[in-house]
Symmetry: C3
């Protein structure tokens, strides 16, 4: 047990653990937001790209045509799902590169700066997507988080490069 406890005792690693958990929880929250919109808009269990839904999900609404009218898409649900996918595309690189970055021995203050800006930018991005805020709010918050990840990747490659 000693080994693992030592890694989690490292301050940079603890900061990584904290912010990674926060952004992953934020991403998971999108599932609940989707469910909320589906229920309030009666677009139950509809998923991506629709026109297709799962017919078993509307079985409780009635028989045949009565149920089928709920099998449709909804712009608000679409919006949440696009935000969710954008999270996946951007948070996956952060989690992977961030772990390697935390292990590459950065300064604690520099590491905190990276993690905090990334987390703040992604939370802002979610609000910008869901409210929605006028552009370039969403574009800028996306770009800031993207740049932070690139900066961490640069540090990893500089420290660990082994082709």
């Amino acid at each position: 047990m000693a080994k693992s406890t030592q890694l989690i005792d490292n301050e940079v690693f603890r900061a990584y653990a904290t912010y990674t958990t926060i952004v992953l929880l934020k991403m998971m929250l999108m599932s609940l937001v989707t469910a909320y919109f589906r229920i309030t808009r009666k677009v139950r269990n509809w998923e991506y790209c629709l026109a297709f839904v799962n017919p078993e999900d509307v079985a409780s609404f009635g028989k045949g045509e009565t149920a089928k009218k709920y099998l449709r898409t909804d712009p608000d649900v679409e919006r949440v799902r696009r935000g969710h996918l954008n999270d996946l595309e951007n948070i996956v690189p952060f989690v992977g590169i961030g772990l390697l970055y935390a292990l590459s021995g950065p300064e604690l203050s520099t590491a905190l700066l990276h993690f905090r800006i990334f987390t703040g930018a992604r939370i802002l991005h979610t609000f910008a997507y869901l409210i929605p805020l006028p552009q370039p709010g969403r574009g800028l918050s996306w770009a800031v988080a993207y740049t932070v990840t690139i900066s961490m990747a640069y540090k990893v490659l500089k420290t660990a490069l082994y082709l």
Copy 2:
């Protein structure tokens, strides 16, 4: 080499490694299921959100209109792809938070309980999606895996919090 071997000697970490590999392999299996449905339904290489496919994929079926009739969507392929995306949305947080959880020094029995329930719930979720089973089978298995991830996140934040 000593360092890495030591980490993998930790029992909690070995359990994490085992269950993470299993759920990731399960997720990868969805690609093969998609391919299987595409071939049996002649909806080759169609991907998400369709109406668009890759025309080069149907070139071998004949010229012009003969080939184009295969460029369409199919409810079964759709269903697998929605399941695949749901996997991504839920297994990515498990892999990330689970790693931090395994390093935060949990009891072996508690950790095993988390990993086993999550893995079982996601396998059940896949069957519920593909067969499909009547609701709330799929919804419940999703919720169980979701709750396990939240529980691990809570332990990580309690142990490692460093904002």
Copy 3:
């Protein structure tokens, strides 16, 4: 700090860090390619599954109907997005299983072989998707990367199995 620096001093782990960073950066590049196609095709900020876009994104193009004509889908943007999603589906398992593999004490030469083939195959896959190359170019590069991940998973389970 010692602990983390030691892990990154391990040669297999450094190789993992390098190739993981490269494939994640390659995946992130897909966002920029999407943006490029959107701007050149005036399909701004359209995302997955279209027919729905974010109306706020076309506000700067004019009022009402003038702006709305830009809210449409485009086959090239579709193609990039499918490639991006395929990356997520395949690179996430590589990052997760690869980390466990790197910690399971493989031979350096074997590990390098796995990481190099995977990275090469995924870069080839991206070119095959975007140019596009005639099949089976894309299918083969996908299968090679898939097989490499399975091979790493086998090694992890053989070394660490703890159910």
